[in-house]
Symmetry: C2
Subunit: 130 residues, 2 copies
DNA sequence: GAAGACATTGACGTTAACGTCAATGTCTTC
DNA sequence: GAAGACATTGACGTTAACGTCAATGTCTTC
């Protein structure tokens, strides 16, 4: 079972040690310790990847934390009401993500239009002076 | 041809006047003036909507500005080389957006899994005490 | 013409997400 | 055992994206 030091994990993920410690302060992950030193497991790495994906999608760390909380909620000891509550949160998230997906597709369409326009300009005739 | 005052446009877009003035400072839009007062045209509104969409997608104002610059670049007076340069930028953007789209779909898949798991827990049996 | 409603331009404040630097500890290596 | 390499915990600094507040102007309305 593979383990990482902080600098190993950071270089694999392309972030700084400051960042990962900052996330720990914010309660986004809780690595084991070997003495004073942090030791990261595969699970920690996966969690960091979730966080970084959230960032790429433009979420704030608070929102990412909420997502992670949904992600590793333990349904076992939950009451029906709690599960229903969680389900609601999940559905809200889904709605927001689908909105974002629409925005994205719209933007991609626009880029395609611009691209076509550029290609059109380039294909009119190789050079004017001909 | 419809025109807006700053507070009209802001309330339609759900933002504050501070925000729109801030964007103007950053060079993201340049409304007309009637005396000292800003007057917004339909084009300004459309541009603001582009900006807000960019924000929803998690872009920084700098990136949004670059996008807008692509968006209303005037190809007419451009040299072939300039158009090719612009094309490159557009393609870079497209690559980044498609990455983001993949991230989004992955997250949606995960949400679906969580949702199913919740539904599963709820459907086992209505209540335990039966 | 005084009172509101709305606008303007500074300018300083605030929060999130880190960067940076100092002081200190531990572990290997020559 | 001194020198690096890597780690730790503060703590203060920085940047983006606004919020807030003061001073002031203009325009309507009673």
């Amino acid at each position: 079972m593979k383990l990482w030091t902080i600098s190993e994990l950071c270089s694999e993920l392309g972030i700084t040690t400051r960042t990962i410690r900052f996330y720990e302060d914010k309660g986004l992950l809780t690595p084991e310790r070997l003495g004073a030193n942090r030791i990261y497991s595969y699970k920690d790495k996966a969690r960091m990847q979730l966080i970084l994906r959230g960032k790429r999608l433009g979420f704030a760390l608070d929102e990412i934390k909420e997502y992670i909380d949904l992600y590793d909620a333990d349904l076992g000891p939950m009451q029906r009401e709690q599960i229903n509550f969680l389900l609601e949160r999940v559905k809200e998230r889904r709605v927001a993500l689908i909105k974002q997906q629409n925005d994205l597709q719209e933007m991609l369409r626009e880029l395609t239009l611009i691209e076509d326009e550029c290609q059109g300009m380039l294909n009119v005739r190789p050079t004017v002076k001909g």
